[in-house]
Each structure stands twice: as C-alpha cells, then as structure tokens.
C-alpha cells in the first residue's frame, strides 16, 4: 500500500467500514510510515473531538415551548 492509497481509504478506516484485509494492510503501512500515522491519528482525534460537540442538552424551556406548540396546534 502506498501513502496515496491509504489517504483514499482513510474515511472508511475511521468509520470502521473498511474490510478486515484493508484494515490489516493499512495497519501494516502505518507501522512503517510515521507521516501517515500522524495523518490517521490526527483525523481520529478530530472525529473524536467532533463527537464531543454533540454533548449537552437543549434548554428545558425550549423543549416545553415546542411541545406546547405541537399539542395546541389546530388541524
């Protein structure tokens, strides 16, 4: 596998959609290519940080306003 091939398969690898053989090939490449390792590690960290942006809940009063509008809406 070349660096270019790894970059092409990166999203699949990050989303764990890559087939087992492809994962093994990527991991073999990562073991000997420090720049691709940084590529993968930083992308993995970015995705993980993004997932944390989804934490936290909407203010209760907004939810109550929404529920009230739904329940009182005329047909």
């Amino acid at each position: 596998m070349k660096c270019k091939d790894l970059l092409g398969a990166l999203s699949e690898y990050l989303d764990e959609d890559a087939k087992r053989e492809l994962c093994a090939e990527i991991e073999r490449h990562l073991a000997k290519c420090p720049s691709c390792k940084v590529e993968v590690d930083t992308m993995t960290r970015t995705v993980s940080l993004m997932r944390h942006l989804g934490e936290g809940r909407l203010r209760e009063e907004v939810v109550i306003r929404l529920r009230t509008r739904i329940c009182t809406r005329h047909d």
Binding site: E39, H52, G54, I70, D75
Partner: protein, 200 residues
C-alpha cells in the same frame, strides 16, 4: 422499529402525544443541526419549531421508508436552507474539486495533536476553535459533518436525508473532516510555537 411503527400509526390518527413520543428523541439532534446550519440560537430555535410543526402537518406523507429521525433531519435541512436563502448571507458551495481530496498527497507539515487534546475531553479553547472551524466550513460539508459526526447518522441515513448518493456523502465527510483537522493542526502549531517562544 416496531414501536416506531405503532407510534406513527397513532400519530397519523391525530394522537399528539404519540407524535411527541415519536419525535421528541430528535429534539436535541435537530437543534444541534439547526444551530450549526444557522449559526444563531434564535434562528436555530425557529428552524427546530418549523421542522416539528411541518412534520406534524405532513405526517400523512411519511411512509416509514426511513427512520423518523432521518425524515426530520431532511425537513430541518430544507427549512434551514430556505431561511438562509431568504437571508442570502450564506454562500452555497458546490462539490467543485478543491485541494486535499482523497488520495492527494499533503504538501505541508501536519502537527501531531493527537495526544494534545486531553483524553478526548474538549477543553474550552479547543472546543471554540473546532466550533469556529465548523462554522466556517461550506454549508454542504458542514451539514454532512454534523449529521455524521455529531448526530451519528450513518452514511446511508445522511444520504437519504440529503437525497444524495452515498459516494457524495463520503466525499463531503472526508473533505469536511480534513479541513477541520487542518484547522486544529494550525491551532496546536500556534499553541506549541507560543509556548516555546520564550525558552531560548
């Protein structure tokens, strides 16, 4: 899925409580999406309300071919885009080739920040940088990134919500993530630079 079907049937019969039970798990994700689309809390709340009221009005049109949550995402994107078009303040990008696509080799040094962002906890400043970088992404990339990485929709659900081929969703996701990562990399580079500046 069975429970969703039952609630849907009741909601179609006019049961508002059933509608709420069906729709309420999507309140937070739809607000998160609306907030990143509109970049304003007030507009995001409007989009949230409009999305749920539209879903209520059009409940008879929902055939259950996708998850209810996916359908709500689709309505929310349409409502948000309509509002933005009226405002005309957002530039809509297209999938024109830009730098950094799949397979393209990197021409600059990437800073390894994978250990810097502490144990997956988003520190305040990093969170702000990431939110700002997300807000600056073209809207088509931003929408996909929010749906996939913040709201945890699958590629297939995102494609369904946006009426796009899965390949386009994957491309936008990759491009969006790469731009965000590059922004974080420059941020950590600046931080390392400013910390090391006075030591020599």
């Amino acid at each position: 899925m069975e429970e969703e079907r039952e609630l849907l049937a009741q909601a179609k019969d006019g049961d508002r409580e059933a509608f709420w039970e069906l729709a309420s798990p999507s309140v937070d994700p739809i607000y998160r999406l609306a907030l990143r689309l509109m970049r304003s809390e007030e507009d995001a709340e409007d989009v949230l309300q409009e999305t749920f009221l539209k879903a209520l009005d059009r409940i008879q049109d929902f055939e259950g071919k996708s998850r209810f949550n996916t359908w709500l995402h689709r309505i929310a994107v349409n409502q948000g885009l309509m509002k933005l078009r009226k405002r005309r303040s957002d530039v809509f990008s297209v999938d024109a080739p830009t730098t950094g696509q799949n397979g393209e080799e990197r021409s600059y040094e990437l800073v390894d920040f994978s250990e810097s962002a502490l144990d997956g906890v988003v520190e305040g400043e990093t969170r702000d940088v990431l939110e700002k970088a997300l807000a600056e992404l073209p809207i088509d990339l931003r929408t996909v990134v929010v749906m996939r990485d913040i709201n945890h929709l699958s590629n297939a659900e995102t494609a369904q919500a946006l009426e796009l081929p899965i390949g386009a969703v994957k491309w936008r996701l990759h491009r969006g993530r790469t731009l965000l990562r590059d922004r974080l990399s420059s941020y950590f580079q600046e931080r390392v630079g400013s910390q090391g500046g006075g030591e020599s």
